[in-house]
């Protein structure tokens, strides 16, 4: 559309922006992570991950993040299949209804789960009304998973929904025409074709779930510490930036692995050259 000169001039602001606000900050965090208070190179802070129960927190974070991701995946597939099934009439309205809760402040709605799940909460009061046994869910790992699924389900639904709606209806008819029943159509055609969407959903859920400190603070009662909580405390209570940054660098290893995974299944790769 434009000549090379114009195009390069137009890209310059973004490149400067990216260097200043994406690369330099990441270098800062790595720098703090691998130096001590005198500015000398040291891996002492990194090795702290093996002490003070930090490893247990990391392990718990990975576990809960994995569980939440799997739950999101299992919930999202049928939901998206139903939503993309009839592509007319009220699908838009149902989709809008699905997006609407996102406009409620996420801190407040996570808080509301406290009210629902606590020992004298809404669910248990209902159980008592129905003479059913009550259960204690608040401040457990289960409550944190509920919070994570609630907060991050849209990130799974969106890419899955997009990749499902990209599948031409005639592809599904072709499978049926060749003798496949609904299950065979799902496992042999729909599932393989939506893997890029699922992968992008998985990374979009796994990373925030792995690194959150808010959900665990609100629904874990401050007793269940995730790696995010520990990093946050290093900055807001301990004021030990070097330790905080060192732990962040360890988190970044997971993030980079995730980015590579996403890149391998990049849905944009199929975009036509315009």
């Amino acid at each position: 559309m434009f000549n090379t000169m114009t195009r390069n001039v137009l890209l310059t602001p973004f490149l400067i922006w990216a260097v200043l606000f994406i690369f330099v900050p990441l270098i800062c965090i790595v720098w703090y992570g691998v130096t001590d208070y005198d500015g000398n190179f040291s891996l002492d802070n990194m090795s702290l991950i093996f002490e003070r129960g930090y490893l247990a927190a990391l392990k718990l974070s990975v576990e809960l993040a994995l569980i939440s991701t799997v739950v999101c995946l299992i919930l999202a597939y049928p939901l998206c299949l139903i939503l993309t099934e009839n592509r007319r009439d009220n699908t838009t309205i149902i989709s809008l209804l699905f997006i609407l809760p996102l406009w409620m402040n996420s801190l407040l709605s996570t808080m509301a789960w406290q009210t629902i799940l606590e020992s004298n909460g809404i669910i248990n009061q209902l159980m008592r009304l129905l003479d059913l046994p009550t259960f204690n869910m608040i401040n457990t790992q289960g409550a944190i998973v509920v919070g994570m699924v609630y907060n991050f389900l849209p990130y799974m639904v969106l890419p899955l929904f997009i990749s499902l709606s990209k599948i031409d209806k005639s592809i599904l008819e072709a499978a049926q025409d060749l003798g496949a029943n609904s299950w065979q159509t799902f496992f042999r055609v729909i599932l393989p074709l939506t893997i890029p969407g699922a992968v992008s959903g998985i990374t979009m859920v796994f990373i925030p779930a792995l690194t959150t400190f808010v959900i665990s603070a609100l629904l874990g009662g401050g007793k269940l510490l995730l790696i995010g909580n520990i990093i946050e405390q290093e900055f807001t209570f301990q004021y030990d930036w070097h330790v905080g940054c060192a732990l962040s660098v360890i988190l970044m290893i997971f993030i980079v692995m995730n980015m590579l995974l996403t890149a391998a299944f990049d849905p944009l790769k199929e975009e036509g050259d315009g």
Binding site: L10, F14, F21, I94, W103, I116, G274
Partner: protein, 260 residues
């Protein structure tokens, strides 16, 4: 099978709307304690308009949201237009750079920006929050605009040039109107992300400056002021009305289209 589908949809919607129902109920609860129901009141709605802390936080949230979304939209649009002109390989590289703030964890982005601002000697406050919000908003804008720009038919632009328009004029009069839906979507998404962000704001804000989310987080320990529930309820219903109007409008348009 149809019933199973309906029940499934209903269960998911119950899961999504249960906390919202609880919040709305709490905004009318006479007791200021969560989960303790003592009767219906509208007190919190009247008090809401006299609460200066909430008013401050709300104005910060709105102004940071609008400014960051606006600046991110302009920067994102320029970047998209430039990226379209590069080969597929370069474009993929640039896209993966733009995606870093989305793929990265909020906590890492927040901390890294805080370190940058402190290193630059920038006092943490309104400006640092604004900059941080632009950083994570740009990729959302690009994700919205880029697909539509890529599918845009070049011939319109070339026709405008052929008819004597300058490149800039041709862009403004032909490409920009075509892109309007995705620009609007990008702006809206950016504003929503900004208004709902807590983690990055938490790390890049200074003492004395609060947005709604950081104000709520601060109140968590001492108990949330029910005025907050009232405010969220109001916001929720505003969006709901907007969505309903949008849906009705769409339906009408569809009917008109069918009639033709």
């Amino acid at each position: 099978m149809r019933y199973i589908k309906k029940i499934y949809l209903a269960t998911i919607f119950l899961f999504l709307y249960a906390p919202i129902g609880v919040l709305i109920a709490q905004s009318f609860n006479a007791s200021r304690y969560r989960g303790h129901w003592t009767g219906v009141t509208l007190d919190w709605y009247t008090k809401l308009f006299n609460d200066e802390r909430i008013a401050d936080a709300l104005s910060n949230t709105l102004s940071i949201g609008l400014l960051s979304a606006g600046i991110a939209t302009i920067l994102g649009l320029i970047t998209c237009v430039a990226m379209k002109e590069f080969s597929r390989k370069w474009r993929a590289t640039f896209m993966s750079i733009t995606n870093v703030p989305i793929l990265n964890a909020d906590i890492v982005t927040g901390i890294s920006l805080m370190l940058l601002f402190m290193g630059l000697g920038l006092k943490l406050g309104y400006v640092s929050i604004l900059l941080a919000h632009i950083v994570f908003n740009v990729p959302y804008v690009i994700l919205c605009i880029m697909p539509q720009l890529m599918t845009l038919d070049k011939s319109f632009y070339e026709a405008a040039l052929d008819l004597g328009a300058s490149p800039f004029k041709a862009f403004a009069s032909v490409i920009l109107p075509e892109l309007r839906p995705s620009i609007f979507a990008g702006f809206l998404l950016a504003f929503t992300m900004s208004a709902d962000d807590f983690i990055i704001t938490h790390f890049t804000k200074g003492a004395g400056v609060d947005t709604l989310t950081t104000e709520i987080y601060a109140e968590l320990k001492i108990g949330i002021h029910p005025e907050m529930y009232a405010l969220s309820t109001l916001v929720f219903f505003c969006v709901l009305i907007f969505v309903i109007l949008f849906a009705i409008n769409r339906r009408k348009l569809k009917h008109i289209e069918e009639a033709i």
